[in-house]
Every structure is written in structure tokens, then in C-alpha cells.
């Protein structure tokens, strides 16, 4: 069977790979959107936190002999804790200033974290084994789908949708949304907004750390794995606009798929297609697909 002259298994496997990449875009842009909503900071260090998640998992498994599943839980906690420290000691002082300083600070943190890991581990990748439970592949009849990729898509969708549920449908989420709209008023009602801000930042970067652990068996764990990804995620965020939680999830997944399909039909453009989509969106709908025009 063929699609536009390309063998079906090839198209499908790139589509699956696109979905996997899309899951990472979705998780990262979701974290960026949640952080931006409450803190008004674009967290450049999101890529570095993603890298750290993968590295912490690798360290736990290599040095301490922990299992993949334990690290899947622990690594995001470690990254989240670091995020809380960063927020409490540094980001906190910048809220009253121009948003640009938040971007610059987190950019500096990115260079710092990347530099530290580079000085200890170099730039070459560290091998990371797929957990035994998820090795092998499932035969779907028309293609072989590696089980681990299936798990990545399922896990990230689960995490993204529960985040959406918590923010849109629970009381905690209502506080959060109110804090985004008018933090002073929410504080007047007796909600501890600074604590909420700290925890939100911690949660956002923990999400990036979780994505990093998920990504570790697919790509090699290296200090530079985050910085190239974060620029693509920025483009995703510009395309989707940061106004909507569901919007960033959908945009992330969709762009992953588009990228995957480009790899089949027009491989020369696969690394730039997300940026091209960004250009088109900027021309047609500058506020982004889900953004609100101010």
C-alpha cells in the first residue's frame, strides 16, 4: 500500500515518530504556558531542565542502580525542587521589572547549567537503556511500532490532560486562573499567591524534567539535548499563543505530526518546517492560533 507514492509503513512510522516529538513539544509548551500565565516569565531554562531530568535519571540508574520507574518519579521531583530554589532565590526579584529580565536570567541559568554538565560529561551522549518492560515492538499489521514510543505518547497525553483537568476543572485550578487574571485580588481573598507562584514554577519545570526522562531512551542523553529543542518549542508557543492550556497541547502534537510528515515528503525542510509554520501563522494570525489579540 502506498500514500502519494510513498510506502505506507514509512509514512506511518514517521507519523508515529512525529507524535512522539509532538508529545515533547506539548509537554514543554504546556509548562511554558503555565509558568508564563502566572509569572509573566518566559522560562528559557526549560530546555536545560528537560536535559537535567534526563541526566538525573541517568545518574540515578548508573550510580545508584535505581530503576527507570523510580527515576521517572524522582527525577521530575529533583528538577522541580531545583526550580523552586531558582524561583525563591532569583526569579522572585524580577517580577516588578520588564519581562525581558526574566528571559535574560533564565537564559543565563541555561548557559550555566549546560556549562556545568558539559564540564563533567563532555558533549557526547550517554547511552540510556529502554526499560525491559517496554522493549520490543507491537505488530500493527501494516507497521512495527516500538512499544516504548507508544508509552511515551500515552504517558505524555496522560500528564497533559491531567494538567488541563486540574487547571480548568478543580478549585486549585480556579485559584491559579484567578491568579493569572488578577493576583492582588486573589491575595486579598486570603490565598497565598507567592507560594502558588513558587509551586507553579516548580511544577512547570518538573514537567520539563519528566519529558526529559521520557526522552532519555529515545535520544542520547547529552548536555546539549535541551537547547536546540527549546527554540523549536518557542516557535510552537508563538504558533499556538500562550492563552490556552488545551491550545498548547494540541499545537504541540500537531506540529510534531507535521514535522514527521515533512520528513517523509520533503526531508530537506524537516528541521525548519516548524519555523516556516510560525512565519505563516505570523502573517495570517499574528496573535497565534489560540491567542487573544490584546
Amino acid at each position: 500500500m502506498e500514500i502519494f507514492g510513498y510506502p505506507l509503513p514509512m509514512v506511518m512510522s514517521q507519523l508515529a515518530l512525529g507524535l512522539v516529538n509532538g508529545s515533547f513539544y506539548a509537554m514543554l509548551s504546556l509548562g511554558l504556558a503555565v509558568i508564563f500565565g502566572l509569572l509573566n516569565v518566559i522560562n528559557f531554562s526549560h530546555g536545560a531542565m528537560y536535559m537535567m531530568g534526563a541526566f538525573v535519571a541517568w545518574m540515578g540508574m548508573t550510580y545508584l542502580g535505581m530503576s527507570y520507574w523510580a527515576m521517572l518519579l524522582l527525577a521530575p521531583l529533583v528538577v522541580g525542587a531545583l526550580g523552586i530554589v531558582i524561583e525563591k532565590t532569583m526569579l522572585r526579584w524580577l517580577y516588578k521589572l520588564d519581562h525581558l529580565y526574566g528571559l535574560l536570567l533564565t537564559f543565563g541559568i541555561t548557559l550555566l547549567v549546560e556549562g556545568v554538565f558539559r564540564s563533567f560529561y563532555g558533549v557526547s551522549g550517554q547511552p540510556f537503556e529502554t526499560p525491559e518492560l517496554l522493549t520490543g515492538a507491537t505488530d500493527l499489521g501494516f507497521m512495527m511500532l516500538p512499544n516504548y514510543r507508544l508509552w511515551v505518547v500515552a504517558a505524555s497525553l496522560m500528564v497533559c490532560l491531567s494538567t488541563w483537568f486540574v487547571i480548568e476543572k478543580t478549585k486549585l485550578g480556579a485559584y491559579l486562573r484567578a491568579g493569572t487574571e488578577n493576583p492582588k485580588l486573589v491575595e486579598a481573598f486570603g490565598v497565598n499567591v507567592p507560594l502558588m507562584v513558587t509551586l507553579t514554577y516548580g511544577f512547570g519545570v518538573a514537567l520539563a524534567g519528566f519529558a526529559g526522562v521520557l526522552a532519555a531512551p529515545i535520544i542520547q542523553v547529552s548536555p546539549l539535548m535541551g537547547s536546540n529543542l527549546i527554540i523549536v518549542v518557542f516557535a510552537v508557543v508563538v504558533i499556538g499563543g500562550m492563552g490556552s492550556i488545551l491550545g498548547s497541547i494540541v499545537t504541540g502534537l500537531a506540529l510534531g505530526v507535521i514535522e514527521g510528515l515533512t520528513r517523509v515528503f520533503y526531508p530537506e525542510f524537516s528541521s525548519t518546517v516548524v519555523f516556516l509554520v510560525m512565519v505563516i501563522v505570523l502573517l495570517l494570525r499574528p496573535a497565534g492560533l489560540f491567542g487573544k489579540e490584546k
Partner: protein, 324 residues
């Protein structure tokens, strides 16, 4: 008055420097100083944080390099071609990026510059791919002045850099520059006063891109090669850091910032070796390879502790007499 003395002093130092220091390193300093000043025109006087200035710096470097090496253009035309190339890239990027304000503007410039970088990675016949463009000849200025001599080239580069700096100073103090500052301070008011804000932003963006391109083209001529490093986002970060360290929105700040950062990058290895010798901690020997760690640390310290930069702090402390 103090300002004139300062400029005269700086010029005197620049004129004497090649007889004391290593001319090629000094020329590299001048190129980066010009690059930082061009960037500052945008962040310091228009309030736009571009995260994509590497695209102009690198694109112009490649155009100038190709013009000299492969198209056989004379050096003055090669530099002009580089500037024109950067201006065109700037026009396209600027037209797209100013459709969004604030933080989105920065993200868009970063993404577009990354696209240029990927382009550079792919069009290997133009950029030489991972190897870069090597062995670019310096040629003769106007067909007579042999630029192969480091000292001759130094004074040519200095003359161009001074002229470009004068252009920036003139721009900032012109009515056009005043409108830019008005946009930076209060954009809605500038709009309500009837200024076509988008057009002003775009002109400032293209001007900044062209000047960054001038710096990139000069750097290729000086060093004789051009690599993808100049197109990479870390270069955009570096120029932001130079401007931040020196002082955003001050005319002399970026000059000083560029000198500090480039000197630091070059001397960090020696400094690490010295520390390792003094303290006996082996790890310091690797400091030269961990430049990004140190630049990151400076970034964080600057943003948290002295946002005005070196020149900004000095002006704040001693120069209260007349608002700049």
C-alpha cells in the same frame, strides 16, 4: 564636556593600541564592539530585545567571505555586499517579528535566526557546512592599500568602526532617535501622537541589522574565515551579554562590554591554569573549556545585581548633572 574627553581618550587608546597589543586580537575586539553597539541601538533605544542578531552577523560574514573568495569582488564591495545581505535578512526578519511585541518578539527573532542557522548548515556550497569558509583573502582597499599588513588593516577597521559609531550616536540624537526613545518609553502614547510605530521599529531593526552585518563582514576580512559559530544562537546570547555588562541604553556601554567579554573569553583558560596552580584544584584547568558556564554566571549576576551595567552604574553615581 566629560563625554568629549572620554571619547578622545578612547580614540587615543585605540590609535596607540596596535603598537602595544596584538593587532588581530584588537581588530576582533573592534568588530565585536561594533556588533554590540548595533545591537544596543535596538534594545537600548527602541526597547526591542532581539535574540537573533547572530543571523545578521553571520549572514554578512558569509556574503563578504564568498564575495572575496569565490566571486572575486574587491574588499570594499565585499563588505558592502555583506551589509546589504544583512539588511535584507533584517528586513524580512524585522517585518515578521514586529507583528508581535514584548517577549514574543524575542522568541520570534530567536526562532527565525535558528532557521537561518539551519539554512547555513544545509547550503554547504555557500557556507562550507561544518568546516566553514576558510582562506578568505584580505585583498587591497580601493586597489592600492594592501590589507595583508595587520597594522594597515587595523587602521582601516578602526576608521570604519569609528564612522559606524558616529552614525549610531548621530541616529540616537536625531529626531528619529527621539521617536524611537518615545516608543521605548510609552508605545501607546507614540501611536496616539500619530507616529507610525511599526515603520519606526522596522527601520531601527534594519539599521541595527545592517550595522551588525558590517561588524560581521569586517570580522571575516580580519580573520580570513567564517564559521557557523557566528550564526549560532550562542552568538546572539553573547552580544546580549556584552551589552548588558556594559550598560544597555548607554552609548559607550556596549564598547566596554565587548572588550570585557572578549578579553574574558580569550584569557579564561590562562586564568583557570593560574587558579589551578595557586589552589591545587585540578578542575580549574578545565575552566577554558567551560566558557559558557562563566558567561552564564555573569549573565545571572548582571540581571540580579547590576542591571544598569558598568557604564550605567558610573553615570548613575557621577554623572547626575545632566540627564543623558
Amino acid at each position: 564636556m566629560n563625554k568629549q574627553i572620554g571619547y578622545a581618550l578612547a580614540l587615543a587608546v585605540a590609535l596607540a593600541a596596535p603598537f602595544v597589543g596584538y593587532p588581530v586580537f584588537l581588530m576582533k575586539l573592534l568588530c565585536f564592539a561594533l556588533f554590540a553597539c548595533a545591537f544596543n541601538l535596538l534594545i537600548g533605544y527602541t526597547g526591542l530585545l532581539s535574540f537573533g542578531h547572530a543571523a545578521f552577523f553571520g549572514a554578512s560574514g558569509y556574503v563578504a567571505g564568498n564575495a572575496l573568495k569565490n566571486w572575486g569582488l574587491p574588499v570594499e564591495l565585499a563588505i558592502l555586499a555583506g551589509v546589504a545581505g544583512a539588511a535584507v535578512v533584517g528586513l524580512v526578519m524585522g517585518a515578521l517579528a514586529i507583528r508581535r511585541a514584548g517577549i514574543y518578539f524575542s522568541m520570534i527573532t530567536l526562532a527565525l535566526a535558528q532557521m537561518v542557522y539551519f539554512g547555513g548548515l544545509r547550503f554547504t556550497e555557500f557556507t562550507g557546512g561544518e568546516d566553514g569558509l576558510q582562506g578568505v583573502p584580505r585583498g587591497k582597499l580601493l586597489g592600492v592599500l594592501d590589507l595583508g599588513n595587520d597594522l594597515t588593516l587595523y587602521f582601516v577597521v578602526l576608521a570604519i568602526a569609528v564612522a559606524a559609531f558616529a552614525l549610531i550616536v548621530r541616529t540616537v540624537h536625531s529626531p528619529f532617535g527621539q521617536v524611537l526613545k518615545a516608543i521605548k518609553e510609552n508605545e501607546p502614547r507614540a501611536i496616539s501622537l500619530g507616529y507610525d510605530v511599526d515603520r519606526y521599529k522596522l527601520v531601527a531593526f534594519v539599521l541595527s541589522a545592517a550595522l551588525a552585518g558590517l561588524a560581521g563582514a569586517l570580522k571575516t576580512v580580519v580573520l580570513g574565515f567564517e564559521t557557523l559559530t557566528d550564526l549560532h544562537w550562542t552568538m546572539s546570547g553573547l552580544v546580549i551579554l556584552m551589552t548588558l555588562v556594559g550598560g544597555m541604553g548607554t552609548l559607550a556601554g556596549p564598547l566596554l562590554g565587548a572588550v570585557v567579554i572578549i578579553a574574558l573569553e580569550n584569557k579564561l583558560g590562562d586564568f583557570g591554569t593560574m587558579l589551578a596552580g595557586g589552589t591545587g584544584i585540578e578542575w580549574f584547568n578545565t575552566l577554558g573549556e567551560a566558557v559558557s558556564m562563566v558567561t552564564g554566571l555573569i549573565f545571572v549576576a548582571c540581571v540580579l545585581l547590576f542591571r544598569k551595567g558598568i557604564v550605567g552604574e558610573i553615570v548613575d553615581r557621577f554623572g547626575r548633572r545632566k540627564p543623558a
